[in-house]
Symmetry: C2
Amino acid sequence: MKGIRRLAQHLDISIGTVSRALNGKPDVNEETRRRVLQAATELGYVPNQSGRSLRQGTTNIIGFMMQTGTEITGQGDIFFMSVFDGVQAVFARHKLDLVALLCSSEEDPNDYLRRVVARGFADALILSATQRDDPRIEFLAERNIPFVTLGRSLTDAGQPWLDLDFEGMAQASIDRLVARGHRRIAITRPHDDINLGYIFVDRCRRALAAHGLTLDEDLIFRSTPNEAGGYQIARDLLALEEPPTAIVLINETIAIGFYQALSEAGIKPGRDIAVVGRYSPHAHFLSPPLTCFRLSLRDLGIALAETLLSAMPAFKDQYPDAPQNQVWPMELVEGESDAFLVPRR
Amino acid sequence: MKGIRRLAQHLDISIGTVSRALNGKPDVNEETRRRVLQAATELGYVPNQSGRSLRQGTTNIIGFMMQTGTEITGQGDIFFMSVFDGVQAVFARHKLDLVALLCSSEEDPNDYLRRVVARGFADALILSATQRDDPRIEFLAERNIPFVTLGRSLTDAGQPWLDLDFEGMAQASIDRLVARGHRRIAITRPHDDINLGYIFVDRCRRALAAHGLTLDEDLIFRSTPNEAGGYQIARDLLALEEPPTAIVLINETIAIGFYQALSEAGIKPGRDIAVVGRYSPHAHFLSPPLTCFRLSLRDLGIALAETLLSAMPAFKDQYPDAPQNQVWPMELVEGESDAFLVPRR
DNA sequence: CATAGTTCCGTAAACGTTTACGGCAGCCAA
DNA sequence: TTGGCTGCCGTAAACGTTTACGGAACTATG
């Protein structure tokens, strides 16, 4: 005898009553409920997930879809671990479990998602590595599956999304650098499938225009979002006839390689060139410390969870004013990498 | 009408035959099987996971348990993403899905595991962040749930495990440094719950003894496994009356902070002190490049998967000679951080 | 033709839950 | 007393599969 039957037999009541007691339903005497709860913990009873979800068509599982192997976002070390922790904090209150759905680099993300959904794996989904044009969004929207994307997409099905405030970062970076006398300012962007590149470049261009400056196309650097990419950017930058006096780095991990290439050339951030980047645990330990934009990843995770819950019928009323489309502000951490002022002529 | 019933109705045969056809069972005409398979793809039918696992008590899901939020191992996102990719490559051949089971930093890992198991979530498990004394191992072993741990533990239930070859790293590092004239060699270790610390320290001590040297207790540094920890180690090291001439860093990310603290004190790795560490994507971009020990994380993932499969009854015969307990060798990547030779007196 | 064997298929039970439904006490008001 | 109401509980159906079992049709063998 296993499962709920064992519990019922042990208490000498019916399985129906046990189930009602455990799930906080009415129509059960408080004294019996107490006994059931106690016996449940004593016997270590935990409802079988398959049985439960088969009956009520719900799994109490939220899937966070991510791709393994490839470095798409260039978000370093503990990015996801921190976000997860925030998401969990919210879900725990609702007895929801978060699992990471790992799409192999050998499988098409769309196929993978199709499988996950068809199998009825999760009640709702969080999508990361959102593409500029992302078929997954339409797929989920058509099927009325609650989801939220981390990162904006051009594909608009009215879905909720959260994203980092790259406009804010672009604006603040440009304003700051221009105020320090810089006129030739370089920026970096990820590869073309990533939407944030367009957003970021566009806002940089407009911010520069507001100061009467134009964004030189030669000063927009593409690279892989890792240390090696940063290294390459610096090499390319230094090879220019007229190098920029400042640069804004859009990825976290590229700063390390960027610094190294500069160092090899005898160029020092903050003295010979101004550098602004993204926060990462190592940003403070670069020399000189990187001036960068930071946000609380845990808070981002919390917001992500709340927004997702507000899209789920069962929890909608508990999160009436969760943001649907929100850019998440980043704060400026002052380092010394942008201390360099352009000398007046 | 949904699911397998829809398929059966559409083909005008019984659901039993459909199920047998889909699952490759005998007792079904090849012609009908072909028709079923075709109709399945046409209608986009995918078996409901709950129904299936309820009936046959198996989920086709492998769980990789990891802890979010906290930095226990100092291994970042890319570490796991790379390992995952290797694991997936093997599992894909057997139609097994890998999901990451994310234990919140607010929940006890043992409780979490208990829940996961009781719910019947996965067929088998991979445990990471293995503790020196890890109750999860006994728990799983008692219940005959196939699992493998990434990292050794003192808790021995005959379970399979894979681990990095820290003995090999210790031996090679010490031999190398001693051969270059170093006598006062410092090492680092993670906090006390992590088994690798004991393994590593022990082997370092014996390697030194083989050269007639003793390991000075003051030269064993504990720290958090991140950049800040490395920074602190360097500060502590430099504050010693008689600092070591060499150090072996056991974690990946601490090198960055370590370099920085040295740099602030005017000490240069490879010139004033010899440094050996672990590979990370940034190791090559430190100045000077870090001499470090590297391994293919993807291959590690592949081995992990094969070992786990050999512990599962359904796949055991397909992996007859998968290693049960194996240390995974690391290769030395020559940098310049240990170029410093101790001058003869 | 009778029998045995083979090939294929349909039927129904089972997995562990949740929940709609009905029913039995006990109580109160008419 | 009668009727209805409330509080509590048991019964059984349902969720979507898999699979043991039995049986029909056909083939082979005597």
